[in-house]
């Protein structure tokens, strides 16, 4: 991670943690503005933060991680100049994928912490092989969502990113299913209460999965694009997205 990005993360992380899921926007917005975050994607020349899409990934992911109550990603993406309706939808799909990645990691962290603490039948839940296997599956899904979001951010920085955004949202959507299911299952009844923090994450995850393109929307779009190019172009197209001479 570059120094600016580390700085950005160190700035946003404690603030998002403090504001959390419930801070009223009249209190949260001024603090977010003080750090320049709503103008994250506005060029410096226009008075903005001048961040790129990898910067956005860090901030949006943390907004998801802390289930930030203010829709900061929507505000920041709303200020991207020249984004038409379709492009706006794509950029928001990227934002939701990044938020999902962060929220899945947070839910995984909660779940791991909980099963290490909670004892049943004389030992911590985390010592039961069935619980371990479920959480390992969850961890892989969270990892895939995070990597796909990273891939989309890199592609956005390179230019055309339709393929990667579709992939990131679709992959993140699919990870929501396993992630939320396992997180609630291993928490038992406590995770189903209002007083415990899990629902801040899982209720948002279910919502974000539907927003800016559900599984069917993105899989059909991506599939139609791949099919239109034809079987023989799939692999060469894929490698051309990342190879130096081609980008």
């Amino acid at each position: 991670m570059s120094d600016t990005r580390r700085m950005l993360a160190e700035m946003a992380d404690p603030l998002f943690a403090e504001l959390g899921p419930d801070a009223p926007s009249e209190r949260a917005l001024p603090q977010l503005e003080e750090l320049g975050l709503p103008l994250l994607l506005v060029p410096e020349a226009k008075g903005g933060f001048g961040g790129d899409w990898l910067d956005a990934l860090i901030v949006f992911r943390l907004a998801g991680y802390h289930a930030l109550g203010v829709d900061l990603p929507a505000i920041a993406v709303g200020k991207v100049a020249g984004a038409g309706e379709e492009q706006h939808q794509s950029l928001m799909a990227f934002a939701r994928a990044a938020q999902i990645a962060g929220a899945l990691d947070a839910a995984l962290g909660l779940a791991v912490g909980y099963v290490n603490e909670r004892e049943q039948f004389g030992r911590p839940l985390g010592k039961f092989q069935a619980v371990q296997q479920s959480l390992a599956t969850f961890a892989c899904e969270a990892a895939a969502a995070n990597c796909a979001a990273m891939g989309a951010a890199q592609a956005l920085n390179r230019g055309a990113a339709q393929f990667e955004i579709a992939t990131a949202k679709l992959r993140a959507n699919r990870a929501v299913e396993i992630g939320t299911t396992v997180a609630h299952q291993v928490h038992g009844a406590i995770g189903f209460t209002q007083e415990y923090a899990l629902h801040h994450l899982t209720r948002r995850l279910w919502q974000w999965r539907s927003e800016y393109g559900n599984d069917a929307h993105w899989s059909r779009r991506l599939g139609s694009a791949v099919t239109a190019r034809g079987a023989d172009r799939f692999w060469p197209d894929l490698t051309a997205r990342t190879d130096p001479a081609c980008r």
Binding site: D105, G126, G151, S219, G223, D243, P244, C246
Partner: protein, 378 residues
Amino acid sequence: MQTFVTEPVDWPDTAPALREQVRALVAEHGERDPVRRANSWTKAAPQFSRKLGEAGLLGMTWPTEYGGHERSQLERYVVIEELLAAGAPVGAHWIADRQSGPLLLRLGNEELKRRWVPAIARGEAYACIGLSEPGSGSDLASVRTTARRDGDEWIIEGQKVWTTGAHVSHFMIALVRSEAGSERQAGLSQFVIPMDAPGVSVKPIIDLTGAHEFNEVFFEDVRLPASALLGTEGEGWKQATAELSLERSGPERYLSSMVLFLELVRHAQGKDDPVLAQLVGRLAAEAWTLRLMSASVAAKLARGEDPALEATMVKDLGNSYEQAIPQLVQAAVDFGDAEAEVLRAVCFYLLQVSPSFSLRGGTREIIKGIIARGLGLR
């Protein structure tokens, strides 16, 4: 908690040229039958392996002194993902190029290196790995094959099983118990055993498709010179397990069923069928994500880090993906359709072989146990 930190992968500037080189070679000498192109890293074709050797595409990262080409880890990655995506028959040299060569270079004495490494790089020497035994599947620490000293020689007695490619291999790197009475991980050593040494015999195990990839290998009073010991006596466990990141994160863990995916795309073309389009989209998204994860592990290995946890995740997700493709294609495509003939043939082949995907290189349950340990649950 963040279990998989992805840094951007700097693909080498030489990548496009390397891809062209591999694509041309595969077009000229590769396998055409789509069924044989599926699961291609288990298909042994010595002639093709020698072509790759001649082209300088084996032992790519190894020192020129030992027949290597001193190219970067990511250049090698580009070549192997091209070979697998095209379904090239790389099975003969696969294990030697991926694991045995690097292991010999790292730990082998001069005699072992001179004897085997340049021949691997030429695509002429192939290797198998002697880990599993009849009593030890995933529980490798229970191996019972023994090596005992007799003057200047070592005598190997015992049996290995599930040995992929033993019948086409020139040598085996075997994990054996070299200290009488030792238990579990202690007292194990690795030996390089020429397959033509007196006392070594190979018996085929035919799989459920009728194919011969696995074998039983028997050692009866096999006498080896002192130089056959690989690395340090008693350190065999550590030496053998250190290789696992190389084995678990490679593109072979998600590309085995790529040929079937491509046939699905061919089948879906021009049909405007939303069910097929959605399936193609879902599988394409997964392939792209797995490629990013796999390459990112390769980049970490190239930087000298040990991304063992990430490698394990790539294997688990990759195997699940490869196994899901034939099931999903079967569920979505009407095989009664005459146009679907090739698709059906590839799909049925992969349905039959895919149970092995989550067995080879560590069973799914063991892999998930390793991930659980990485999460701090064990």
